[in-house]
Amino acid sequence: MRLLLIEDDADVSRFIVKGLRESGHTVEHADNGRDGLFLAASENFDAIVLDRMLPGGMDGLKLLETLRATGNRTPVLFLSALAELDDRVKGLKAGGDDYLAKPFAYAELLARLEALARRGQSDAPTTKLRVADLEMDLLARTVRRAGRLIEVQPREFRLLEYLMRHAGQVVTRTMLLEAVWDYHFDPQTNVIDVHISRLRQKIDKDFGTPLIHTVRNAGYIMRGEI
């Protein structure tokens, strides 16, 4: 992926750029709003990581509003130390696609970025999802593995659908909570893990190769072959 990072803090920038490059992405970096807007408007990126508070008279919100006004639809992930609930709402309203509060885990940032960039590509409506020998029919709402029908409840279906749509990508617990249950809250305990483990009982238990894998300190990934 070709990514743009607009962030003024040198340490945070170095950390993100290094990480994203190690994950195999190309990263451009701007350390102020004006340069960032110039880069974002003049070049093509798969996703933009945008800090809320930037020096140089143009903060993240204004930058994004300006960018969206030119018709640019590049997915934008807000990165901000302003973690108050209203700030999140403001960021999403201004045209942001996702919001991550500082301090954050690198794995969470990477997972969200990959999900964002992917979202733009897979817009074509599909009726069937497939990962290895696991098949999901979105119209009949059935799940089969190796040809065998597997009973899943509606919410498990949505959870599995999200994992399959993001096959090969790490998805974090918060992402699952937001995407599958559509609530933004802190579940306190490992409720997501419990749901995943039930899903594993149905999808993976009786079959040779597991498809749902745990990624330590990050979340889960659905993957056919290792």
Partner: protein, 466 residues
Amino acid sequence: MPPPTVPHLDLQDRAEDSTVLRVLRSTGFRLAVLHTAVFIVSAMALVAFIYWATAGAVNRQIDAAIRADVLALADRYREGGHAGLVEAIERRITEDADNEAMYILIDSDGRRVAGNVDRWPAIVPGEEWFELQLERGGDRSVARAYQFLMPGGYRLLVGRDAQERIRLRDLIVDALLWAMAMIMVFAVLGGVLVRRMLLKRMQDVSETAMTISQGNLSRRVATGERGDEFDMLGRTVNRMLDQIERLMNGVREVSNAIAHDLRTPIARVRARLEEGLRQPPDAAADRATLERTIAELDNVIAIFQALLRIAEIEAGARRAAFATVDLSRLLADAVEIYSASAEEKGQRMSLEVPAGLRIVGDRDLILQAVANLLDNAVKYTPGGGSILLSGRALGGEAEIIVADTGQGLPEAERARVTERFYRTEQSRSTPGSGLGLALVQAVAQLHNGSLRFEDNAPGLRAVLTL
């Protein structure tokens, strides 16, 4: 050389100046002036009406008599010419017993042709109505008169002696003027009284504000039983002060909490890092240290965010996200999210809620509150127990109840569990930050609701009213 006292005097002058300005700008003064003005204007309207109805009526009565007389004389002139007119005038004079009527008819040369007035008065030829001094048989008197131009250059003046009536009118006017003067005095007095009353009732409010700005947050405005505007103001101010006090206490609690409960994990992180540094380099051990440290820091961050979130909710700044929430759906989602965890622990979780239960609120925060209650229930209910989440409409509010069959909560602890970082004896062994119920409480308050705990015999019932 100027005397050294001059600058001092100057200052005093300015101080007096500002006092005058302050009085002029004060609401009390303006109200007093307004009161006075309204009083005077309405009194003036009343006086004007009295004048119109009394003295004015006298004038109008005289005028009407004169006008009728003139019309009659004009008729006589049309019928009998000059001779007829003169005869009519003379007959009127002889018939006038009260000696009130006055007439004078002159020809174009100004000679008197008929009438009981000695000579034509010095009046402006163009105007019709006059009030004039007339000499009549040597007597001077005041009359109201009407001038009438006739063919052939003759001019007729018809008048009525108005001495008595004008005296009456003057008496009325005098009385009214005196009354007016008295009214003004009373109006000003009233204004001053209004201002003093206002100041007196405001004094308590401003004294309270003063005491509070000096740091005594417990002082309140005294409110009476009258229920008037000032009592309402007092109550509003008191409510505001309660809120401020609550927020201030919140800030104090948070800083205390940060001091006590965040220092410990941070100290642990520091110790671990220092220890790692002291030991001989070992890639595997270093890595383990780093991972543990990150986990520890994540915990600190989580506590920090929970604290900030509670503070933010308590500040009430989040009503912007309020919308209609389908509570039935939300509770069903909550049960769905947590029932898997309950089943893992061998508990039964069930839901009882009528369809279509709606309230206005913040969807994410309500779910967070319910989630915290369910999370607690799952934590403190042993295997085989059951947890019931129910919701119902109660008046204009909604009541959400989480009832479990766990160990319950001693009565003495019920009030304290919503304090930040408060942990009961039995909960110290389970993971948690001690912030969950504080957040539920904050969410309840944001929705003008409440959170209370009851005995479920056995177990605990958490009742959240929104």
